[in-house]
């Protein structure tokens, strides 16, 4: 939860995700020629592995040193059959040293270990060591949203096959179009960009508590006027003018990650957690939430914007110290599980609802990342 954020940080945050994404995209270009495998085979594999996942009970991951955050995210990745379908097709690095440093490969090993053994939990030590090579340190409290981006970018960068990279992109990236319109001369500039998460504010622009997830989405896509010292330079007008900044949704991926920015700065430096009640639905239809001019997509695309909650990464405690756990709805059994490091138990929707938050309880679990899954994959 150490993430700096707040309203004004939104664009900065986007850039971070973008720059990572662009780098990855560049790599895709480089690796294109390696894509030799026929597509049909891939698809067959996907289906086989997809079903094979989770033939056992859900397996826990031992905490190997403040790794609850990593553990929760790993569970979210590995319980996602769409992701493991990609993961299982990676090229195994030839050398032992490379193997140790290859994040996707280590993840795959971990997955295998979780699935084959009859142990109740396995230890992600090897993966944790591998990650520490990339400055993802152990014994450090991570912010789940940040770690998710880092992890995802690492995976993407180290996947050699462009085909897989593309699939991974398709699976996770959200496409939006940013509009910037001068209020004086009505000249408009557009920019397409992609994001890995929708970083939703939980307070509106006047710091009032937003009531539901839908409200947060509305608020996120609500046009913002840039006036006073936020004014931008308009080339047509030749001076700084007030602008209207808005964002339109272009494309939503199969796995949609929503980041609830449950923190705020009270007195400049001091960040504290917002634990108020914020319900989120099990079924989310973006067409019902966003208005016509908040979208920039054809009917086909929009028809697919019906989502089902797949996982919740919840945080308990304060910004300085806390604990993460993950609630994941198994895609094969359609049952909810709660993953608390090595402890896994089957739960119900009522337990998940407990992560809505509570304004009087500051130490309880509150949802931090919401992962929604498209109901009817295209």
């Amino acid at each position: 939860m150490g993430q700096r954020s707040g309203r004004q940080e939104r664009s900065k945050k986007l850039e971070l995700a973008l720059s990572e994404t662009m780098k990855a995209e560049a790599e895709v270009q480089n690796n294109k020629e390696e894509d030799e495998e026929p597509k049909a085979k891939d698809q067959r594999l996907t289906s086989v592995f997809g079903v094979a996942d989770l033939k056992n009970e859900a397996i826990g991951l031992y905490n190997v040193g403040l790794s609850c955050c990593l553990n929760s995210l790993l569970q979210v990745f590995l319980m996602n059959i769409h992701f493991t379908g990609i993961l299982r097709r990676i090229t195994v690095p030839p050398h032992a040293a490379e193997k140790r440093r290859n994040v996707p490969y280590q993840m795959l090993l971990l997955l295998e270990e979780m699935q084959c053994g009859k142990q109740k939990a396995v230890s992600p030590t090897a993966l944790a060591c591998c990650l520490s090579v990339y400055r993802v340190k152990l014994f450090v409290q991570h912010d789940a949203a940040q770690l998710f981006l880092t992890l995802w970018n690492l995976i993407k960068r180290q996947m050699k096959k462009p085909q897989l990279v593309e699939e991974l992109n398709d699976l996770y990236t959200i496409c939006v179009q940013e509009h910037l319109a001068c209020q004086k001369c009505s000249s408009e500039s557009k920019r397409n960009s992609s994001m890995l998460t929708l970083p939703l504010p939980v307070l509106d622009s006047s710091s009032h508590v937003l009531k539901t997830l839908e409200d947060c989405l509305q608020c996120f896509f609500h046009p913002e006027e840039l006036t006073d010292h936020n004014m931008c330079f308009c080339e047509q007008c030749g001076r700084k003018t007030p602008f209207l900044q808005s964002m339109k949704l272009v494309h939503l991926p199969q796995t949609l990650t929503i980041h609830l920015k449950r923190f705020c700065f009270e007195k400049s430096a001091d960040i504290h957690k917002l634990s108020h009640y914020l319900p989120f639905p099990q079924d989310l239809d973006f067409n019902a939430v966003l208005t016509e001019n908040q979208c920039q997509a054809d009917d086909n695309e929009k028809a697919a914007w019906k989502y089902e909650l797949f996982a919740v990464v919840a945080h308990s405690g304060s910004t300085s110290c806390g604990h993460y756990c993950a609630y994941i709805r198994s895609l094969t059994e359609c049952k909810w599980y709660c993953f608390n490091d090595s402890e896994v138990c089957q739960v119900s929707w009522d337990d998940v609802k407990c992560t809505y938050g509570h304004s009087n309880l500051h130490w309880g679990e509150t949802a931090y990342l919401l992962i929604y899954m498209k109901k009817h994959p295209q």
């Binding site: 009970e57 826990g60 031992y62 905490n63 040193g65 403040l66 009859k118 142990q119 109740k120 230890s123 014994f139 308990s316 405690g317 110290c321 806390g322 604990h323 756990c325 709660c338 608390n340 490091d341 090595s342 402890e343 138990c345 739960v347 009522d350 337990d351 609802k353 407990c354 009087n360 309880l361 500051h362 130490w363 309880g364 679990e365």
Partner: protein, 1031 residues
């Protein structure tokens, strides 16, 4: 229940799965069965860990136990086969797992896990099946879930404790090794043995660390699940609160706390156990810690989370079990009267406390008083603190029971205005909401908290006549507010949606007379309130409910009047559905039109408070059907004669006709006696002859002519008669049985403003051997001897008070007809007295005051006309002053004054003393209405004027009378009337002792005061009124 036992009780399909599970397993089922409890109690999962000696220890323990069993005589010879199997199993196990006990531990752990899975499936299946089985008590999903989760929570807690013990063992082992083998001072890096030992030590530390993390993860998981459980309990508690609020409104709901108490206690107990476990973890850290010790970082976090959870649980577990109420408030809690005892009780649903620690509970009233000007402040008398008692048996729970509390208003209560300030605050007392807060200093297991809970808001009144409107406030609040701390609710009371209001109104009837309102009733009420608009979308504003009303009283006052009437007199009839009750005139005609002559229905009067009437249909030979209705009976009449008896004996007097009972069939078509037979009071028909020496009594009526008319045609008179009621009383046994004969006379004539009463005269003739007006006092003495008529005493003189043209109603009752004391006549230019001896046939009633009086008399009676025209001038008090004043020329003045319970009257100027008989105690005393002044505002005068005009032409018709009934302000019934009386008259001449503590504040009476059934006897002191004051 132990797992293995539960497994065995599974349904066959699931048992089959268990058999399959063991068929291929290396652990024979015989062993599982034989050592079931021990096997379940071990932590096999932990034993699986590599490098752990735990598995080996477990394995050998198992073998040893098996050996013990084999040798024990318990098995004896009776199960030779079993013994053989066990022996074989022991040998096999030893052979197979001796070298790798971890494998065995893994095997057992997996078997147990699989068992649990089958068990879950089986139990879920059973629950599904059980839900279909008939006869199972309906239990909500949530209740089931709570029970299931509580059970799961306990199992998980036990597992955590087991894991903790294992951790302790590991730590002890490590600690020992560490102390023995680790020798830091010396440089022994070259010693390979030492290096090996350090390595082993390092491995042990790794295992210890993992175990610590595992225990922590378990606790995190436990806390997560208990949060869900807490949410469930919270929801249940919320539902209970709602039920309690509804129950306060009279809804029939279940407000038991026992299940909640059990659940809260169980969860609380579990969480406290967890807290202790956490502390024990802290102790472990004290003994052994190392770099990046997970306990160091996570225990404080867990403890804070747990403490927060516990505090929240305890805080919400402190509830007001019994809302403040007066002991005899009869289903109307939350209305408290100063200086009257009341009680309230709070309960802590978490039944855990330290017996050595005294917990003190306190109560406070209005701890954070709302900032409303003039908001009264009160003190709670008697002790406001109490040591929390845990009942002798644990069943009783932790209860703070405050009884015998009383409230006293603080001297300087209304800021700046003195105790009897003019009350300029925006809220009247019945809209002032007060709160009592309970606090409890709770301490248990090192957790110290100040718990706090508040009652629902209540209204504090100082007098019973405020009870009805206070209750209206309570209804409104609890119907519309879910925030019990909203003391300023009535600063801007929201309107009530009709469906909600309808439900609440129905509860009122249900709680008073065990039968709610039907759809038709509610439709009629909705129509009355909203006209023909669809009622579902309508809302009713608070003032419209409780304050204004076209008929001079509010909607609520009207309903409460009816409730009072039902409670006192009509409970059984209402309960059995004989009273149609709420029927509009239009509807009533529609219903009766198609019925045969003599079909009648009983409905509540819409024009007077607490009145019930019968309407019947007549089909004349030609012309449209006629509908007749009796002037409504109020509690006063019904007190003397029950409604079924009235219906049985009802007679309609028609000129030159034999009186007949027009009430033949109860709507829709039930013969009268069939419908009401069970409710008739016992008649002593046989006594009729014996009673011959007495006269029968009969109530008749008198119609008085309009003042400016010198004569009236016969037809008019007849018409007037027809529309009025004729009542015949059968001789009801002995004289003592009829206290009501006279009492009946008084209450209904309420002055000129109620022309429907005009001319109604009840005269009792005959055998009232004993007059027993219900109030003691002078009256009784006067009426005691038969043969004496003391019209001044036992009869009532009720000259109309106000200056209206219509004739004033006059009522005279006389106890006995043989003798009349002279002298009344000259007082009463207006008075019409008619005595009807038995058997004299219908009586024709003389016209009003100015005209000559017709008096019929029979053999026994003496007729007296008390109102010679020229005997005196009549002075009518000005409307504004509103006093009753009759000046009878030089004969002096007649003062009529209503009296409270004591029945004391002191007219000063008049030569004649009039005594009004108070009705039975605690019932209506409507005679006081006569004393009410007219508001004197121009529009009121206009209204009166128009009314008067309206009355002139057709004073005999029902319709006109109804118009008259709508006169505002005239129909207000004073309960114990004095309170209402004072302030109203105060405008002109104050008369009431201002120091009387029972007098209400002026603003109290700004609301229509309404009679209530909840009046206790003896609440009001006698009132002394000086006639001078009325001028």
């Amino acid at each position: 229940m132990a797992q293995w036992q539960e497994v065995q009780s599974l349904a066959n399909a699931y048992l089959e799965q268990v058999h399959q599970l063991y068929a291929g397993a290396a652990l024979p089922m015989a062993v599982r069965q034989c050592l079931a409890a021990w096997i379940e109690d071990q932590n096999w999962r932990q034993a699986v860990e590599p490098l752990s000696s735990h598995a080996r220890m477990l394995f050998h323990s198992l073998l040893a136990l098996l050996g013990e069993r084999l040798g024990s005589p318990g098995l004896g010879d009776e199960d030779f086969m079993l013994k053989h199997n066990l022996r074989k199993a022991r040998r096999d196990l030893q052979a197979e797992f001796e070298e790798c006990p971890e494998k065995f531990a893994n095997l057992v752990a997996n078997l147990l896990q699989e068992e649990r899975r089958i068990l879950r499936l089986g139990q879920a299946g059973e629950q599904g099946g059980a839900a279909l089985a008939p006869g199972t008590p309906p239990e909500s999903d949530r209740e089931q879930q709570i029970r299931r989760r509580l059970a799961e929570f306990h199992v998980a807690l036990q597992e955590a404790e087991r894991a903790f013990r294992h951790l302790e063992d590991l730590q002890d082992a490590f600690d020992f090794c560490f102390k023995v083998h680790y020798l830091p001072g010396e440089d022994r890096t070259s010693d390979p043995q030492y290096a090996q030992q350090v390595q082993a030590l390092q491995a042990k530390l790794q295992i210890l660390d993992r175990q610590r993390r595992e225990v922590l993860a378990q606790m995190q998981q436990l806390l997560g699940r208990s949060e869900t459980l807490r949410d469930f309990l919270q929801q249940e508690l919320g539902a209970w609160r709602e039920r309690q609020q509804r129950a306060c409104l009279g809804a029939p709901t279940d407000t038991r706390l026992r299940p909640l108490e059990t659940w809260f206690t169980e969860l609380g107990q579990g969480l406290f156990q967890l807290l202790q476990l956490l502390r024990a973890l802290g102790d472990l850290r004290q003994k052994v810690t190392y770099e990046r010790d997970p306990l160091k970082a996570e225990t404080p976090l867990l403890e804070r989370r747990l403490r927060e959870l516990l505090s929240y649980l305890l805080q919400s577990a402190f509830v007001v079990e019994q809302q403040p109420s007066m002991p005899n408030a009869y289903k109307r809690p939350l209305v408290l009267r100063t200086a009257t005892k009341f009680s309230a009780r709070a309960r802590l649903l978490v039944r855990l406390h330290d017996r050595n620690h005294r917990m003190e509970a306190k109560i406070h009233i209005d701890r954070d008083p709302p900032k409303i000007k003039g908001f009264r402040k009160f003190n709670i008398l008697t002790s406001s603190s109490k040591t929390l008692l845990a009942g002798d048996s644990p069943q009783d729970g932790l209860v703070c029971d405050f009884q015998y509390l009383t409230l006293k208003e603080q001297k300087d209560s209304r800021s700046g205005k003195g105790s009897k300030g003019t009350g300029e605050g925006p809220l009247v007392v019945t809209e002032e909401l007060h709160l009592i807060t309970f606090t409890l200093a709770y301490a248990y297991c090192g957790l110290e908290l100040e718990l706090e809970t508040s009652t629902l808001p209540f209204v504090i009144i100082s007098n019973n006549n405020q009870l009805s409107s206070a209750w209206a406030s309570i209804l409104w609040f609890n119907m519309l507010s879910s925030d019990p701390k909203e003391q300023q609710f009535f600063s801007a009371p929201p309107p009530a949606p009709w469906p909600r209001l309808a439900e609440v109104l129905s509860w009122q009837f249900e709680s008073v007379a065990e039968r709610g309102l039907s759809r038709e009733h509610l439709l009629m009420l909705a129509e009355k309130l909203f006209g023909s608009k669809p009622p579902l979308e309508n809302t009713l504003a608070w003032p419209k409910f409780s304050k204004d009303g076209a008929s001079g009283f509010s909607f609520w006052a009207w309903l409460d009047g009816i409730l009072g009437l039902l409670q006192e007199h009509l409970k059984q009839l209402w309960k059995d559905g004989l009273i149609l009750g709420f029927v509009s005139r239009k509807q009533e005609k529609k219903l009766l039109k198609g019925k045969r002559t003599g079909t009648f229905l009983i409905r509540f009067s819409e024009s007077i408070l607490g009145g019930v009437t019968c309407t019947w249909v007549e089909h004349p030979t030609s012309g449209p059907p006629a509908f007749r209705a009796v002037v409504p009976y109020t509690a006063a009449e019904l007190a003397s004669l029950a409604l079924p008896d009235i219906i049985r004996d009802y007679q309609l007097l028609v000129e030159e006709n034999i009186p007949e009972n027009p009430l033949q069939f109860l709507y829709p078509d039930i013969a009268r006696d069939e419908a009401f037979g069970p409710y008739y009071s016992q008649r002593q028909e046989g006594n009729l002859m014996e009673q011959k020496k007495y006269l029968n009594r009969r109530l008749i009526r008198v119609s008085s002519r309009q003042a400016n008319e010198s004569c009236k045609t016969e037809e008019e008179l007849v018409a007037a008669t027809e529309n009025l009621e004729a009542l015949q009383l059968q001789p009801g046994g002995l004289g003592t049985q009829q206290p009501g004969g006279l009492a009946l006379l008084q209450p209904r004539t309420s002055g000129t403003l109620q022309p429907r009463d005009r001319g109604t005269l009840h005269v009792t003739s005959g055998n009232l051997g004993m007059l027993q007006p219900s109030s003691p006092g002078t009256v009784q003495g006067m009426a005691a001897s038969p043969g004496m008529l003391q019209p001044g005493g036992s009869g009532t003189l009720q000259p109309g008070p106000q200056g209206l043209e219509p004739p004033r109603p006059q009522q005279v009752g006389s106890g006995v007809s043989e003798m009349l004391q002279p002298g009344i006549g000259d007082l009463e230019p207006q008075l019409v007295l008619q005595l009807v001896p038995e058997g004299q046939g219908p009586l024709q009633v003389g016209p009003g005051g100015m005209g000559p009086l017709q008096v019929l008399h029979g053999g026994l009676g003496i007729l007296q006309h008390a109102a010679p025209e020229d005997q005196g001038t009549q002075q009518v008090g000005p409307g504004g002053l509103g006093m009753v004043q009759l000046v009878a020329g030089d004969t002096g003045m007649l003062q009529q004054v209503g009296v409270g319970d004591a029945g004391l009257l002191q007219p000063v100027l008049g030569p004649v003393q009039l005594l009004l008989l108070p009705e039975g105690q605690g019932t209506l005393q409507p005679e006081l209405r006569d004393l009410e002044p007219l508001p004197g505002s121009p529009d009121m005068q206009e209204l009166l004027q128009s009314l008067t005009e309206g009355l002139k032409p057709g004073s005999g018709t029902l319709e006109t009378l109804e118009v008259a009934e709508l006169m505002p302000d005239m129909l207000e019934v004073m309960n114990g009337g004095l309170e209402g009386l004072g302030p109203r008259l105060a405008g002109g001449t104050a008369l009431l002792d201002p120091h009387d503590p029972f007098l209400p504040q002026p603003e109290d009476t700004a609301l229509p005061t309404v009679s209530s059934l909840f009046t206790a006897a003896g609440d009001f002191p006698p009132l002394h009124i000086d006639a001078n004051d009325f001028q």
